[in-house]
Chain length 335, copies 2
C-alpha cells in the first residue's frame, strides 16, 4: 500500500504540466474524486486542469470547486500533457476526447476501483475492494498528510455516498461507513449533502415519474416489473426511475425502458434474486453487473418488450424463481 | 457514562419479572432497540416479554426475533411487573395500555434519546446527542460485553438507519456512521437491510404515490408545495409521501395532507429553509421539530388548504424567504 502511495507521491512531486480527468457521463464519484484530487495537487503546489468530456449534472453544483471542472466538449483541449491523471475510468475510451492530451511521452497515473482488464497507466492503483475511487483518495490524503479542506471532505463524501447508492449497494463496507464518519467529524454536513444530491428534483421530474409509475406493469405473478418512458421534451434526467420498478414487493426482475430518440431505447435492468441481469443485458449487446445492467435497443417498443419478457421468463425458469422465494435472499441462514 | 451503565447492569442483574416496551406507532428504532434489548436480557439470563401496544409495521418483519414482539392491542397483559424497561418513549402515555403493568412498586428503566421534559423512570438514561436509542444500546452492549449476535446487530443497525432517515437528517453524526461501520464489520448486510426497509413497497403504494404526485401543486413562486391524498381503501401506509413534496427544487415549505377518515386529516409538514414548521403546526394544535412537524385537522379540505397557505405565506414573509435563496442554506460560509 505505502509503496504505491509513495509512487503516487513521487509522481505528484515530479515536473511536467498536468491534467486530471474522469469519465464521461460523470457520476458523483467521478466529480467528487476529481475535485478532491485537484485539492491534493494544489496543496502540493501543482498547476493543473480538471476536465470531463461531458456536460456535468447540475445536481452536484453545490460541491466546492464544481465550477473549475472544464467540460472539454464545450472547451476542447488541443495539446499534449506530460502528466495525465485518470480517475475512476476503467478504460481509456471512457475519458472521451481528453485522450488527445496523451502521447507516448505522457506519464499516466490511473486510480480506480473498477476492474476492467489490463491497466493502461504508467502507475496503476486499482483497488476493487474500495467502494469508490473517493475511498482510495481518502487513504492517499492521509498518507500525504493533506489538510481536509471542504473540497476534500465534500468531494470524498459525495463519491462514497453516490457510488454506494446511499449506503445501499453491496459495495457498502465497514470502511466506507468509517470513512464517512471521519469526514463528518472533519466538517461534512451529511444532511445538506443528501438533500442536494437526492432531494432536489425539477418539478417536471416528479410529474414524469408519476406518469411512469401509473403505467407500471407486473408480469409472471409479480416476479417481473417493467416501466417505460416514451420520448419526451420535459426531462432528460431519468436517474433513479428503475429503482421504483425494483422496489415493488415480490419483484425479482425489473426494467426501465427509456426512449432516448424515436425508436432508440436505453434499457436499465435490476435483479433482486439469483438472476444475473448482466447475462440478460449481454444477450441484447449490453452489459453490467449481476444486480444492475443495461443495454441499448433500436426498433419497435412492442418487439423490445416481448423479447425482454421472453428472456425474463427463461431466466425465471432456469433459476427456478418462485413467487414465494423471489424476494432478495437473506444473507445469513441462522437469523 | 460508566456510572449509569453500572446502574443499568445492576438493574438487569436484579430480581423481578420483567417486560420491555417501546412506543406505539412503532418505528425502526422502537422495534430494533426492543429486539436488541431482549437479546441483552437473554444473554444475562433474564426472562422477559417484549411488547408494543400497536400493530407492527410488517416491513420490519425481516428482523431476527420480530415475531417475539407482542402486540398488546391484540393480546393485552393484565398484570403488574416488578421491572418495566421503556425504550425510545419520551413520556409514559407513549407506551399505551402497557402502562397498566406499572404500579408504585414497579422499578422503571427508561432509555431514550428524546428530551421531552421530566424523566419518569427510577433509572433514566437520556442522551439527546445519540441519533437513536439504538445508538445508546450499542454503548451498553460494549459495556456489558454482550455478544453481537444477529438480533443485536440488525436491531441496532435498523434503529440508527431509520432514525437518521437513512443518514439524511441532522442527527446523523460521525458516531452514528462509525457504529454502523462496526455493525457491518460484525456481520450486518447493509444492502439487504436497506432493500427491506426502503425498497419493498406494495404495488398499490406506488400507484397511489403516482396519483398523489400528479396532483402536486406549487405556490408562492415555487416556495411551497402541497400534495394530498383523499380517503382511500387501497393503502394505509403513506410513509415517505411528504418527502416527495419537499424534494422539489426550490421548495422551502412542503405539506402532505392525508384524509384518514372522512373530513379528518393528518398533515405532515417539512421545512428546507429558516422557517420552523413546528411553529406552523402549533398554530393548528400540533407540534414537532424545526424541519419536520405535523398536526390533525377536522373539517373541510378547502378550508384546511386555505388556512395552511395563509400561514405559509405569513412565514415566508416574516422570514423573508426569496425564491433565489429559498434552498436549504449552506452550512459553511467559506466553501
Amino acid at each position: 500500500m505505502n509503496n504505491i502511495f509513495e509512487q503516487i507521491r513521487d509522481y505528484i512531486l515530479s515536473d511536467g504540466d498536468l491534467i486530471v480527468v474522469s469519465h464521461f457521463s460523470p457520476d458523483g464519484d467521478a466529480i467528487g474524486s476529481l475535485l478532491a484530487f485537484g485539492e491534493i495537487l494544489k496543496q502540493l503546489n501543482n498547476d493543473y486542469i480538471l476536465a470531463i468530456d461531458d456536460t456535468l449534472p447540475q445536481k452536484y453544483n453545490f460541491l466546492p470547486g464544481f465550477n473549475q471542472i472544464r467540460n472539454t466538449q464545450e472547451s476542447p483541449i488541443n495539446r499534449v500533457f506530460e502528466r495525465v491523471v485518470i480517475l475512476d475510468a476503467g478504460s481509456l475510451p471512457r475519458i472521451g476526447s481528453v485522450k488527445s492530451c496523451i502521447n507516448k511521452q505522457t506519464r499516466i497515473l490511473n486510480i480506480d476501483h473498477h476492474f476492467t482488464g489490463p491497466s493502461y497507466g504508467d502507475i496503476n492503483y486499482i483497488d476493487v475492494d474500495a467502494s469508490a475511487t473517493a475511498e482510495i483518495l481518502y487513504g492517499l490524503c492521509n498518507f500525504l498528510d493533506i489538510e481536509f479542506t471542504p473540497r476534500i471532505i465534500y468531494g470524498l463524501y459525495v463519491g462514497i455516498l453516490t457510488d454506494t447508492g446511499r449506503f445501499r449497494f453491496s459495495n457498502t463496507s465497514a470502511r466506507s461507513m468509517e470513512i464517512c464518519g471521519d469526514l463528518i467529524s472533519k466538517g461534512v454536513d451529511p444532511s445538506w449533502v443528501t438533500e442536494n444530491v437526492y432531494y432536489n428534483h425539477p418539478f417536471e421530474y416528479l410529474q414524469t415519474l408519476a406518469e411512469v409509475l401509473l403505467n407500471m406493469k407486473l408480469y409472471f405473478n409479480g416476479l417481473a416489473c417493467i416501466i417505460s418512458l416514451d420520448q419526451n421534451e420535459k426531462i432528460k434526467d431519468t436517474d433513479g426511475f428503475v429503482e421504483y420498478a425494483s422496489s415493488v414487493k415480490g419483484v425479482a426482475l425489473a426494467a426501465f425502458i427509456y426512449e432516448r430518440e424515436a425508436r432508440y431505447y436505453k434499457i436499465s435492468l435490476r435483479s433482486r434474486s439469483r438472476i444475473d441481469v448482466s447475462e440478460v443485458a449481454k444477450k441484447f449487446g449490453g452489459g453490467g453487473h449481476k444486480k444492475a445492467a443495461g443495454f441499448l435497443y433500436r426498433g419497435g417498443k412492442d418487439d423490445l418488450i416481448q423479447n425482454l419478457l421472453d428472456e425474463f421468463e427463461w431466466q425465471i425458469k432456469i433459476r427456478n424463481i418462485q413467487p414465494d422465494n423471489s424476494l432478495f435472499e437473506q444473507p445469513q441462514e441462522d437469523i
